[in-house]
């Protein structure tokens, strides 16, 4: 119930404090008891909403009609030979059902909505959101109506959609199928349909010929559950900062682009990693924006290559901020810092220690760099003459030579400044 309450609150629902569980009676082999415990008249949460970002870039508000608890049923697997298998392992496990208002208009909207719900469920620590394992199931109810009419058409329900892509494709297919049926003068039958991946089309699974009488009555084995205000407020206070709030904060306070803010807020753990790093950025002499850039451009690349999530890496937020601080203080340059980060990622060693033990500290000593430049110019008289004759491109050659001599540690700005002085002397 506490998890359910978290979700209902995160979806902006009005909370019913008085919760009654009901028995829903029906005969089907997926129910070992012959009835399902559910919430019927008074769902935990009602009248909520969720803002969903569509591919077009616009934000759409999807109404949440109800959020209620019930128990999961067994999993039926229909085999090609006409037999069916029942897996009761998940039967009786608490299940949360979230029902939207009829606000979704396309397969892509359905997918965007479902992904946003999954993101929130993960943020709340309620569900892993793994559709292939069936711990998150999305069952779109689809109907068609002529533009401008208020009454909804007969709906079909799609079940057993095991990915967000199939959710989008199945919904799109069903919209097209129903449109074709209606345009050819046919009628849509109310039924449950499945998705055939090979044929990439929906097919009829179960037709409800008449409305079933579920004979709902109050569940006699579960007394009414009253959630008092203190409990609801305690759960509300324990909710983590949710993605939309986080993104807005990143953009407003840290001046991140919307894209960067979204990337960092996509998963709760990444956002929290970033927040921790930011909290130490000022002391290390760097900025949230730099931290964001380093995470998105460098750290995520290393994580992708190693196929590691942020909770599995050896680099700590403190270490990354220290590394960026070394760059800001010009102890090392950018390219060196990338090498150091790779080393940190591989071994977990602190950046200062890597710089120290490998002698990577940037040379910012005028005299030392001047000496190397003098040496490079003396060793390459031919290139110096060609440069002086107008082959400006050779300037890069001299910089390269200086960097090679210093193993890349020379402060690039200083090299440029001193080289120009020497060549133009």
């Amino acid at each position: 119930m506490e998890y359910a309450l978290r979700v209902a609150l995160a979806l902006n629902c009005t909370i019913n404090h008085h919760n009654i569980f009901a028995r829903k009676n029906y005969f089907y082999p997926d129910l070992p008891k012959g009835y399902q415990i559910s919430q019927y008249e008074l769902p935990l949460g009602v009248n909520g909403w969720l803002d969903v970002e569509l591919e077009s870039g616009e934000t759409k508000r999807i109404g949440i009609r109800r959020v209620h608890m019930e128990e999961d049923t067994g999993k039926l697997t229909h085999q090609d030979d006409g037999t069916s298998l029942v897996d009761y392992n998940r039967a009786g496990v608490p299940l949360l059902e979230i029902v939207t208002e009829p606000d979704i208009r396309s397969g892509e909207e359905a997918r965007a909505y479902a992904m946003k719900v999954r993101q929130i469920l993960r943020y709340l620590g309620v569900n892993s959101g793994d559709m292939e394992k069936g711990v998150l199931r999305v069952e779109p109810n689809i109907s068609i109506r002529p533009v401008g009419t208020a009454k909804f058409g007969t709906r079909t329900e799609l079940k057993n959609l095991n990915s967000f892509r199939v959710l989008a494709d199945g919904t799109a297919f069903e919209i097209a199928r129903q449109t074709a049926v209606l345009q050819s003068g046919g009628t849509v039958i109310q039924e449950t349909r499945g998705w055939h991946e090979g044929r990439r089309e929906t097919f009829s699974q179960r037709t409800k010929e008449e409305a079933e009488d579920y004979r709902y009555f109050p569940e006699p084995d579960l007394p009414p559950l009253h959630l008092d205000d203190a409990f609801v407020e305690q759960v509300r206070a324990s909710l983590p900062e949710l993605p939309d709030t986080k993104i807005a904060r990143y953009m407003a306070e840290y001046e991140l682009s919307e894209y960067d803010a979204r990337v960092l807020a996509e998963e709760r753990l990444v956002g929290e990693w970033f927040d921790t790093a930011v909290s130490k950025a000022n002391a290390a002499g760097t900025t949230p924006k730099s931290v964001a850039n380093w995470m998105i451009n460098e750290l995520f690349r290393l994580m992708n290559e190693a196929k590691l999530n942020i909770d599995a890496i050896q680099v700590t937020p403190t270490a990354l901020v220290e590394l960026i601080g070394l760059v800001e203080k010009q102890t090392i340059n950018n390219n060196t810092a990338k090498e150091v980060l790779a080393e940190m990622f591989a071994t977990g060693t602190a950046p200062a220690q890597i710089v120290e033990s490998k002698g990577l500290a940037q040379i910012s000593d005028n005299t030392a760099i001047q000496a190397i430049i003098d040496q490079v110019l003396a060793d390459n008289p031919e290139q110096v003459s060609r440069y002086l004759e107008g082959q400006d491109k050779l300037r890069g050659f001299f910089v390269g030579q200086v960097m090679r001599q210093t193993k890349g540690k020379a402060n690039p700005a200083l090299v440029n400044q001193l080289l120009d002085a020497a060549l133009n002397a």
Binding site: R23, N25, F27, P29, P32, K33, G34, Y35, D213, R215, Y216, F217, P218, P220, D221, L222, P223
Partner: protein, 486 residues
């Protein structure tokens, strides 16, 4: 000394003093079961080997001075309560051969208390009945007159205790199924407050009314068994998480100043005159013992029966939906799955089928408000009757049953006459009070009569002490059925 005539409390004291062994007591019970139970038919399953093992283990512990509450005491368990590794049928063919993989909470408690479990006793199918005639296996006979029923549904447990085939026994009481057979068999039977005892592992009939109860030949014996099984169980959401008082210590026999209410609605036309006389005489004795007698009214009493026969069947219709031959008990194979389920469910007896149909109807669309929904509302009024009464009195005294034990076959063709057996007991279940039956005399046929004492929620100690005081004074419990009548 006839070991089988000892009370539980006497036996327990002798076991602790080493004057008798648990093995000897257990063997005495088993021997007597062999002698008597072919006629009486109180047990469906005997667990004699297991019982002797438990008795031997108890004797070892007793020898070491172990004083676990029921250590070494042989008891019986109604066959609607799950016992690990021991068949549990609920008196139904549909559970024939079902062997539970776990013990009900109350059986766990019994074992923890050191009790020796002799076997499983007969019951009306799924506890639906008042005579054990609805058992799919046997009809138990009344130890006082073998032509007559022992009452029900827990008739097997009541008969076994009355006949000296167990020192105490567990029953269940959904509408009177402990108190009415206790009354018919001349023993004490307690139906505790709903939630006082866990229902986990008790095969469900009507979930808001079911409660495990206890039988003993004396009030003290009944109390000792109750003490051992009461308590909170997190596996049952309706189990009350409240302290369990020391009920045995509460049996002081002092009822001076106890306010005893006598509801006028319970002395109605149709009540057997000898029953009324005996009950009124018992109430007079309570007054002699220092109680104050107050006439009270429970105005909604006449609605208890219709309310009960809407609510209990409605809950049963859902609770019994799981018996489809797929997971428990026998399966009758048909042409396809639905056909198999239909044929398997034909194994239910007629009374169970009747109640499933009644309940399904009462819950169906278009009838819910008129039947089930209205029954819930009237149930609230009935509860209010009792709450109002318990502002004025501590205990309510009534007959347990309008008659004494009836003849086998007398009511089988008349369900309504059978339902009327529970007219005085149903309200306790509907109102979440607690109640007990204690012997208060015999009719001219020599059949026991029961006095029902009803207490407010969680006031078991009050009614047990009142019954104990009366019992000490009246001593009906000292009369035992004569084996020769069987």
């Amino acid at each position: 000394m006839d070991i089988s005539k000892l009370s539980l409390v006497e036996l327990r004291a002798m076991l602790r003093r080493g004057e008798i062994s648990s093995v000897a007591a257990t063997e005495a019970m088993l021997d007597r079961i062999v002698d008597v139970d072919n006629d009486l038919q109180s047990y469906l399953t005997l667990t004699d080997e297991l019982a002797l093992e438990q008795a031997q283990a108890a004797d070892t512990r007793l020898a070491n001075g172990d004083s676990t509450p029921l250590l070494g005491v042989p008891v019986a368990v109604k066959d609607i309560i799950c016992t690990e590794g021991v068949p549990t049928t609920a008196g139904s063919k549909i559970l024939e051969g079902f062997v539970p993989p776990y013990d009900a909470f109350v059986v766990q408690k019994l074992k923890a208390a050191g009790a020796v479990i002799l076997g499983k006793t007969n019951t009306d199918e799924f506890a639906m009945g008042s005579s054990t005639e609805n058992s799919a296996y046997v009809t138990t006979r009344n130890p006082w007159d073998h032509e007559r029923v022992p009452g029900g549904s827990s008739g097997g447990s009541a008969a076994a205790v009355a006949a000296g085939l167990a020192y105490a026994a567990l029953g269940t009481d959904t509408g009177g199924s402990v108190r009415q057979p206790a009354s018919f068999c001349g023993i004490a039977g307690l139906r505790p407050t709903y939630g006082r005892i866990s229902r986990w592992g008790v095969i469900a009939f009507a979930s808001t009314l079911d409660q495990v109860g206890t039988f003993g030949r004396t009030v003290a014996d009944t109390t000792a068994l109750f003490q051992a099984i009461a308590g909170h169980d997190p596996n049952d959401s309706t189990s009350l998480n409240v302290p369990v008082p020391n009920f045995e210590a509460a049996l002081t026999g002092d009822i001076k100043g106890l306010r005893v209410g006598v509801p006028k609605e319970y002395f109605i036309e149709g009540i057997d005159a000898e029953v009324e006389t005996a009950v009124r005489r018992a109430i007079a004795k309570l007054e002699e013992l220092g109680a104050e007698i107050v006439e009270i009214s429970l105005p909604h009493t006449s609605y208890a029966l219709p309310v009960y026969y809407l609510i209990a069947p409605a809950e049963a219709s859902a609770n019994l939906a799981r018996y489809d031959g797929i997971r428990f008990g026998p399966r009758v194979t048909g042409s396809d799955m639905i056909d198999s389920v239909k044929k398997t469910r034909a194994l239910f007896g007629p009374e169970v089928k009747r109640r499933i149909m009644l309940g399904t109807y009462a819950l169906s669309a278009g009838y819910y408000d008129e039947y089930y929904g209205r029954a819930l509302k009237v149930r609230t009024l009935l509860k209010q009757d009792f709450l109002n009464a318990f502002e004025k009195v501590d205990v309510i005294a009534t007959p347990t049953s309008p008659t004494t034990a009836f003849k086998i076959g007398e009511n089988v063709d008349d369900p309504l006459a059978m339902y009327l057996q529970d007219i005085f007991t149903l309200s306790v279940n509907l109102s979440a009070s607690c109640g007990l039956s204690v012997p208060c005399g015999f009719d001219s046929k020599g059949l026991p009569i029961g006095l029902q004492l009803i207490g407010n929620a969680l006031q078991e100690a009050t009614i047990l002490n009142a019954a104990y005081a009366y019992e000490q004074f009246a001593s009906w419990h000292k009369q035992l059925p004569v084996h020769g009548k069987l």
